[in-house]
């Protein structure tokens, strides 16, 4: 495959300074920057598949992972991305129990800033927390999920996975299915996919659809079969366990019956459809194992691999901007 021929020189040639100091929203990017980031990430995919993965693009830089919410997957993805680029990586998981969460955020920001990190990856349960932090620190802030707002690197890795599977995102029909209301993944993906020219659909029960979602630029469906009809990609969202107890949906079995993805429902999609999920999955709730584990249709494992490469691209680009400052 031609892509595997990409080497470190290609990566260097594709490196460009990030257009903003921080990456807190998919809206921080324009289409050209987004495509340039995907090209850069492609280079890292190739390098990551080599035996010697260690690079020195971030040598001397310090990356801090600041996770106010637990996330093994995202945190290790950023950690690995930072380490492969040669950065010093520090993981912090402040406990929010003794103080109010807000005090912890601001206090921690001030403290961390004094340690002079270069890149700060933050996940926080409140929408807008990453943007708030960005106002308080001198380093680059990367949003790794803020409440129900955004998770922009997830959208980037999703776009990368789709582009590698289909050659281009433009013209694809992508059905984003499930708990759109509470999903930061959905919000970032809607922005990113539309920028790349995909047709986005939002599918889910009416109680899990945000007010005004029909004005987000895609069609809204409350029937999974109709929502995935002729779709190229079906992206399932995680349903948080605490939301299945009758307040928003009556039960997990009812949810699976109408909104869980199984082979029968997937048969309505376009032949060659790919299934995605940001993880971690609730098997038997939003997705059937039979579908999730079928490597012929599931991109779920690719998403994890692409996650490291996409984050390496973001970190490299942000660091290139720091180099210029």
């Amino acid at each position: 495959m031609a892509r595997n021929a990409l080497g470190i020189d290609d990566v260097r040639a594709r490196t460009f300074p990030f257009p903003a100091r921080h990456f807190t929203s998919a809206a921080d990017l324009d289409r050209d920057t987004l495509i340039a980031l995907l090209d850069l990430a492609d280079g890292f995919v190739a390098l990551n598949r080599q035996k010697a993965k260690k690079l020195d693009l971030l040598k001397g830089r310090t990356l801090m992972n600041l996770f106010f919410e637990n996330s093994t997957r995202t945190q290790s993805s950023f950690e690995l991305a930072g380490k492969r680029l040669g950065a010093d990586v520090v993981n912090m998981s402040p406990r929010a129990s003794s103080m109010s969460k807000g005090e912890t955020l601001i206090d921690t920001a001030v403290t961390l800033n004094a340690m002079r990190p270069d890149l700060l990856v933050v996940r926080h349960p409140a929408s807008g927390a990453a943007a708030l932090l960005a106002q308080k620190v001198g380093c680059s802030v990367i949003n790794a999920g803020d409440g129900q707002h955004e998770h922009p690197t997830q959208a980037l890795l999703d776009a990368l996975s789709m582009r590698r599977a289909f050659g281009s995102v433009e013209g694809l029909t992508v059905a984003i299915c499930g708990d759109v209301l509470h999903s930061r993944v959905a919000r970032s993906n809607v922005l990113t996919l539309q920028m790349l020219g995909a047709r986005v659909r939002l599918v889910g029960p009416a109680t899990l659809m945000p007010v005004g979602a029909e004005r987000w630029g895609g069609e809204v469906f409350h029937d999974l079969r109709r929502g995935v009809a002729d779709a190229d990609v079906v992206m399932m969202l995680r349903l948080q366990l605490e939301r299945m107890t009758g307040a928003l949906v009556p039960s997990t079995r009812e949810y699976f019956r109408f909104f869980g993805l199984d082979r029968e429902k997937l048969a309505h999609a376009k032949p060659g459809v790919k299934v995605m999920h940001p993880g971690p999955m609730n098997r038997g709730v939003e997705i059937d194992s039979d579908v999730a584990d079928d490597l012929a249709i599931s991109l779920i494992q690719d998403q994890v691999e692409m996650g490291v490469a996409a984050r390496m691209a973001v970190l490299t680009s942000l660091a290139a901007r720091l180099d210029n400052d």
């Binding site: 969460k101 601001i106 409140a126 929408s127 807008g128 943007a131 007010v211 005004g212």
Partner: protein, 433 residues
């Protein structure tokens, strides 16, 4: 306190909501009261001893009556004291304020009412009146000592931001308050429908991922309150209406012979939800800012008289309570010093006659609470504001007198500079150069 020296205001633009007069005139304040009002630019035979203020066409109007002000006293004096609130008030031309009972301790019995009144007398700036809690501890369960608080000097009862969910408690408290002639204020909000929301449910809040509640929660509760006002005959103050949808309910109720008065906060006349922008917590308010359609409907309702009173909804919150993620930040905005210039915006934009706008912050709240204020007439207390209504002012939150600086008008340009404020004929604020 020293007896106020007589002052003659010459060449003013008198605006008197009580008579509807808006035109040239003079006014003499003496002995704490208005001694003379004339609709001529000058006065003949004026004693040379009297201090003269040449108004140069600036507006002379009754001082403002702001019936919804929070301070932090007693209990949270770092936010705002009665004194700092009173200083902020007179700097904004506000000569009477009604402070809310959600302090620590709660104003739910007469000794706290008494404490506030004594403290206000000592401060001697704006007039300060307490509102009492409708229920003990604002818990919405048992009635507070409404009669005793009335006797001690509270002007109305309210549970402030906490809705009284139990309709029987609400009915009985309203009925009881009516018996003492005490107006009953309630902010309509169905909490089970609104949930723990921090923003208005809309496409905008959805994109920001904010925890949002629907505007309809206001109408649902308002319908109940209006029905109970009809049933009990109580004087109901609908506190801070915010949604266009609720106005229809109001229109229907007002067509009947029901004693309903409606307030709106200056913030909801000035801003909409989009001002939240990138999670700006100074625009996190209770009720939340709603859509532009709502704002326009509220302005029209004020102009038509459907909404009676405009309040500052002054709610001080220090920086540490605001510099938080939006969902965690304290709600509320300070507003005493910006109420008048912000309201004047509606005059400059031609949305309502000046005298009508002023009535909503002077005569109407005064009448509602039986205060002798809001009129320029011989014998009335000389509570006055002199304001150059055309003068540009740029609001700088750091320069506000309030102890807390959480003003959503920070950095905005308004028109209307308060030059002089008098309370009972005494100059309590003077910004003339």
């Amino acid at each position: 306190m020293a007896e106020a020296r007589p002052i003659a205001f010459l060449g003013a633009r008198l605006v008197d909501p009580a008579t509807g007069y808006d035109g040239p005139g003079c006014l003499i304040a003496a002995g704490g009261a208005i001694a003379e009002v004339a609709r001529t630019p000058g006065l003949a035979g004026l004693s040379p001893d009297i201090e003269r203020v040449d108004c140069g066409g600036a507006m002379l109007a009754p001082g403002l009556v702001d019936i919804r002000v929070k301070t932090g006293e007693p209990g949270a004096e770092t936010k705002e004291t009665l004194k700092s609130a009173a200083r902020a008030a007179v700097a904004g031309g506000v000569t009477s304020i009604v402070v809310q009972p959600d302090t620590d301790p709660v104003v739910d019995e007469p000794s706290v009412v008494d404490f506030i009144l004594r403290r206000a007398r000592d401060i001697g700036l704006s007039k300060v009146y307490p509102a009492g809690a409708a229920t003990k501890g604002l818990a919405g369960e048992q009635m507070a000592e409404i009669g005793l608080m009335r006797e001690a000097g509270c002007l109305y009862v309210t549970d402030v931001d906490r809705p009284i969910v139990n309709s029987q408690v609400m009915r009985r408290a309203m009925t009881y308050a009516r018996g003492f002639g005490v107006p009953f204020a309630h902010r309509p909000n169905d909490p089970s429908l609104a949930g723990q929301s921090n923003a208005n449910e809309s496409e905008f809040a959805g994109r920001l991922g904010l925890v949002a509640g629907p505007a309809i929660a206001e109408r649902v509760m308002l319908e109940r309150d209006l029905a109970l006002a009809e049933l009990t005959g109580a004087t109901l103050i609908v506190d801070q209406l915010s949604s266009a949808d609720a106005l229809d309910s109001l229109r229907r109720a007002k067509a009947k012979d029901v004693n309903i008065h409606v307030t709106v906060s200056i913030n909801h006349l000035s801003f909409n939800e989009l001002d939240i922008g990138d999670y700006r917590t100074f625009y996190k308010l209770v009720p939340p800012l709603r859509g532009e359609d709502d704002r326009q409907s509220l302005i029209e309702a004020l102009a038509s008289g459907l909404i009676d009173v405009v309040v500052s909804a002054h709610a001080p919150a220090p920086a540490e309570d605001k510099r938080l993620p939006f969902d965690e930040a304290a709600p509320g905005a300070v507003g005493l010093e910006t109420l008048l210039p912000a309201l004047l915006t509606l005059h400059h934009e031609g949305r309502a006659p000046l005298v009508d706008l002023l009535a909503a912050v002077t005569l109407k709240p005064a009448r509602l609470l039986s205060l002798d204020a809001g009129r320029l007439a011989t014998g009335a207390p000389a509570d006055l504001v002199l304001c150059d209504i055309g003068a540009p002012v740029r609001i700088d939150a750091d320069k506000l007198i309030s102890k807390s600086k959480n003003s959503p008008f920070d950095g905005r340009s308004l028109q209307g500079k308060v030059l002089l404020t008098l309370v009972d004929g005494r100059v309590v604020f003077d910004a003339r150069v």
